[in-house]
Each structure stands twice: as structure tokens, then as C-alpha cells.
């Protein structure tokens, strides 16, 4: 077991534990902090896959911007574990069963397939995840989607302001 495998397993364990803690925690603030742990673990996976640009963007956009937005909203509403609404027990049970059976079916199908088992991901090699290559392709072949995404951002910003405006 070399260092890459140790890192893979520890990051995977961190991601899954963080996700489970996020779903099961009663307090929304702790839940959000566990989600940040998951995002950092996924960024670690990106670095392990040599996708360094995506790792940095993941930390800046998700752990930085989006989670701060969530934190502000949660603190604005003064939510805590006491007034947390709970679903009844059977609905929770049914939700866990249906989500778990999805996982079970995909894992079972994956274990049966012979050609997937032989595929290996080349972890460390390659420069496709570096910013040089990504920038070349983004601004040469995908410049129109890039510009359209700026319009999407503008409309999202206008929409958020219009929806969040007090009184109408």
C-alpha cells in the first residue's frame, strides 16, 4: 500500500464520514461545517487526480463563497436544533431504504461488470488538469459558453435581488 492509496482511502473515509454527519446532525450550523469538511476532502481528491485548477476553484467557490452564503442565511434566521422540524419515523425509514437501495443496485451492477474492473485511473501523470491547458481550451473552444455563463450570473444576481427585496 503506497502513499497514494493511503491518501485515497483516508480522503474517501473523511468524505463519507463528513457526509453522514452532515445528514444526521440536528443543528444546521454543524451540518454546514461538516459539509465544508466534505468539500475539502473532495478537493484533496482533485489534487490526487492532478486536477489542481479544479481543486483550487472548488475550495474558493464552494468552501469559500457558497458556504459563507449558507452560514449568513442560517445565522440570519437564528435556526437551532430545538425548533428543527422532524419527519416521522416511517418516512425517514423509507427515505433511507430507497436511497440505500439505489447505492446497492449500482454497486451490485458495478461488481458484475468485467470490463469496468480492469480500468485503471492514471492518478499522478498528465498535465490536462493544469491551468495552462484548461485556459487554452476554455478561451479557444468554449468561449461562447463562458460568456453565456456571465449572463447567467448577471440574471442570477438580479433575480436574487428582486426576490429578496423587502415589500412589493
Amino acid at each position: 500500500m503506497n502513499i497514494t492509496q493511503i491518501l485515497f482511502w483516508s480522503l474517501s473515509a473523511l468524505a463519507i464520514i463528513g457526509a453522514l454527519m452532515m445528514v444526521s446532525n440536528k443543528n444546521p450550523i454543524y451540518s454546514m461545517l461538516w459539509l465544508i469538511v466534505v468539500f475539502f476532502a473532495i478537493s484533496g481528491h482533485y489534487i490526487l487526480l492532478n486536477a489542481q485548477f479544479l481543486a483550487v476553484v472548488n475550495i474558493i467557490v464552494y468552501a469559500g463563497a457558497i458556504m459563507v452564503l449558507f452560514l449568513f442565511v442560517i445565522m440570519l434566521m437564528n435556526l437551532n436544533a430545538d425548533n428543527e422540524p422532524q419527519k416521522n419515523k416511517w418516512l425517514k425509514f423509507a427515505g433511507v431504504i430507497s436511497g440505500g437501495s439505489l447505492l446497492l443496485i449500482v454497486v451490485a451492477a458495478l461488481r458484475q461488470s468485467q470490463e469496468m474492473a480492469a480500468q485503471q485511473v492514471n492518478l499522478t501523470g498528465g498535465k490536462i488538469g493544469l491551468i495552462h491547458n484548461l485556459g487554452q481550451v476554455l478561451f479557444r473552444d468554449y468561449v461562447l459558453p463562458f460568456e453565456i455563463s456571465s449572463i447567467l450570473f448577471l440574471s442570477a444576481m438580479v433575480g436574487a435581488v428582486v426576490i429578496g427585496k423587502k415589500g412589493d
Partner: protein, 112 residues
Amino acid sequence: MMPINYYIMLAMALFSIGIIGVLTRRNAIIIFMCIELMLNAVNLLLVAFSKLHYGRVAAFSPEATTGTEAQLFVFFIMVVAAAEVSVGLAIIVMMYRNIHSVDVNFLNRLKH
């Protein structure tokens, strides 16, 4: 070298946990966070497949850039997720202002 199966299983586990969260919680903010978790699981899988196809092509031609598109798609998914979060949180704030709760069960009639 890592088998692609491990990555598919990890991403599927994260995605299922997100689905379980959406189905079992009633707090609108937590449901929203679970959706973010599912988006991240898909992103991780896209990057893993991008490296898989890169590795297959790079064995023959070292200068290949196969798999770049997948990483750009991940970038665009992050863009869309950021826009989605800003509008969604504005809707949640407005809902909290109107009914003083973030319980999604109060919204089943879509009016107050």
C-alpha cells in the same frame, strides 16, 4: 494507479447520502446542502473519468489533451451551482419572511 470502480463507488455513496438527506430532512436549507453534495459527487466522478480517458490515450501519444472537456464541464457545473445557490437562498429567505419557518411541509400548498 487506482481502479475506476473505487471512484464510482465513492461518488455513488456520496450521491446516495445526498438523496437520503433530501428524503429524510424537512429543513429547506439542509435539503439545499444535500443537493450541493450530490453535485459534488457528480463532479468527482467527471474528473475521475477524465483522467481515465486521458490515461488511455496518453499511452500512445504523450501530448494528448483528451479529457480536458470533462474538467471544463466541472467548471461550468460549479458556475451553475453558484448561480443556483444565490437564487435558492433568496427564495428561502423570502419564504422565512412570509411563514417564519423553513419547514418544507408548510409549502405543500404553494401559497401562504
